[in-house]
Amino acid sequence: MSGSSTSPARVAADQPTLWQNPILLFSIMAVLLAVTGFAQSWLLALTILQLCIISAIMTLGVNVQWGYAGLFNAGTMGFVALGGLAAVLVAADPVPEAWVAGGAGIGLSALIICATIAAIMLVRAYLNGLLRFLATIACLVAGYIVFGQAFGPATEAIEAVNPAQSGYLGGMGISILFGWLLGGLLAAGAAWIIGKIAIGLRSDYLAIATLGIAEIILAFIKNEDWLSRGVKNVTSLPRPVPYEVDLQTDPAFIELAANWGMEPNALAGIVVKLAFIALFTLVLVVLVHLAERALRSPWGRMMRAIRDRPDAASAMGKDVKRRHLQAFVIGSAICGIAGAMLVTVDGQFTPGSYQPLRFTFLVLVMVVVGGSGNNLGSVLGGFLIWFVWVQSEAVGFALVNLLSSGLDPSSWLAGHLTQAAPHLRPVLMGLILVLALRFAPRGLIPER
């Protein structure tokens, strides 16, 4: 939310300084991770790197919307959550009993929805004026009542199937990698519908509308237990990479570890994380490549023109609404993919974890700090801000240890400092954000 029909990039930019060289900045990022590896541990560095990549993918999605098209989507959280839901629907084991109990009812409900929509379309095609309005309402109400008759009992039946362990329909039980695809599609579909409704709104109003819609999506996911298991969470989703425990018990692996002079546990952790990282990197590279191509093409030129002056672009024959919708859908799809990837690496879907601060505003911070309108910039922003987000936790605790090292551990001050330690994290995070913006107000790697 900002007064932001002013384009994200400003005119009359000063020339990029040496500091804004992408190669240099990414090297610094690599050094930061390497330092983490040496000073703390490589497992930690890799854990952070995994999420850096996922964050970068999210920022890429937001950048398509905000950086390219100037659309202020404050509903990233909703699309990320939808991506997560998709991963569940694909990878979780199906619950046959639930399907037996309520599958038919759910199918029937879906049919009723379709029938209602068809009826409304018919009504709207053949009737006019007040009658049309009344008939539409009548169809809606009738549809809703009939739907309730089928849907209510069906969901109750499903949720009654072993509620402590399942209580939902489950997924398809296939590889979670397909969930990434479905996550993109699901998010894109939702974005299409939302965009159709909301894309005409201007800057801050679009922001708050999308923010609200994201909350609605989340309320749906949290409360429609039959589909998503709601706040009871779906855990232990299968991985596309081997499990550490399996590696650790594999004699060949143990031997390998011994040959390399490493602990099998540590090596297994590193191998698994590297496998994840390889998968994620592949996605990131493909997406960055496509995004760069798009941005440098006439498409990108058109999008920037639309962002600068939508009315003039429209007068030059560009269908602003359609293009906004396109950017909105693509950006959301990317966020959906990232959401599915996040669930993959976490191994679980916990609707309670979707908070606007973490999944909307932090991602926006990543884009702006990195450099909106610039793909590499926003990727860098994703890396850097996630790194800071995670490491500020450790730094907060370390700082307090340092401060209270000379104190008597039972003294009031020492106790107070210990309590305060976790809250140094947001302080540090805020400080770094403000400092970054002070020295690079247009982002670390600004647009062009």
Partner: protein, 270 residues
């Protein structure tokens, strides 16, 4: 070419356009003048699809185009410029023009990703056209400048340049002259005349500079209070009592001698 019938546009209680009917004939440069707040810009906005009218009808070559969105009108050959220049400020001058032609292959993501050669080919063609246009406008030296850094008059030239990137049927110009240096305005006037003569564009332009209007336009339509007051050739219109009363005024003593001198379109045309 354009026929506007009994057009109304109301903003709340303000009747900005209040039953205007005008006709713009193919091949003319039609002037639109009138006192401040007469509803000229609003009329333009309605015709060009910026917002729909309260009532009334707009036709283009006999086809009803009332309320069509701007981008569709563009594809029908109707172009407009803005009273305040609407350049794409973060784009270079070249890109400002490059983005204009419709239906470029590279504007579809699929082609942008998977048919680079087709994109390259069309880019080359458009780029050649841009060079021509910039040459024509005398902006070649600014080709890589960000449009936001141009001065007022240069931005207006750029606005005009956009209309030259496609084969428009009709171009609406909203006060290209305001705030533009008179010498530069003459150049713009020449450009308009050339486009009209050589490429057969039809123009409709709002302007307050009577000398400029007289040099370029025939016929001239005078609006007042949302309605058409008079229509006719420039020198007839400017002698019309009602026009003098509502718009031109009797002229200040000092300025009178300039106002009275008859303009000549050829005067400044090279």
């Amino acid at each position: 070419m354009i026929r506007v019938t009994d057009l109304h546009k109301h903003f709340g209680g303000v009747h900005a356009v209040d039953g205007a009917s005008i006709e713009i004939k193919t091949g003319t440069i039609t002037g639109l003048i009138g006192p401040n707040g007469a509803g000229k810009t609003t009329l333009f906005n309605v015709i060009a699809g910026a917002f729909p009218p309260t009532s009334g009808k707009v036709e283009l070559d006999g086809e009803d185009i009332t309320g069509l969105p701007a981008h569709e009108l563009f594809h029908k050959g109707l172009l407009r410029t803005f009273q305040i220049a609407h350049e794409f400020s973060t784009l270079t001058v070249r890109d400002n023009l490059m983005m204009v032609p419709p239906s470029q292959p590279g504007e579809s993501l699929i082609s942008a990703w998977f048919r680079p050669s087709a994109v390259r080919k069309s880019e080359k063609e458009i780029s050649d056209r841009v060079d021509e246009v910039l040459d024509f406008l005398g902006l070649t030296h600014l080709v890589d400048e960000r449009a936001g850094n141009l001065s007022g008059g240069q931005k207006k030239l750029l606005e005009l340049g956009r209309t030259m990137m496609v084969d428009a049927k009709i171009v609406f110009l909203d006060e290209v002259g305001a705030g533009v240096n008179r010498t530069l305005l003459n150049t713009i006037g020449d450009a308009i005349i050339r486009l009209n003569k050589e490429r057969g564009y039809t123009f409709c332009m709002i302007e307050h500079d009577m000398a400029f209007i007289s040099r370029l336009c025939d016929p001239v339509i005078v609006m007042a209070e949302g309605k058409v007051l008079v229509e006719g050739p420039a020198d007839v219109v400017r002698k019309d009592e009602r026009v003098i009363e509502a718009y031109l005024g009797v002229g200040r003593k000092q300025a009178a001698k300039h106002e009275d001198t008859a303009p000549s379109a050829q005067g400044a045309t090279p």
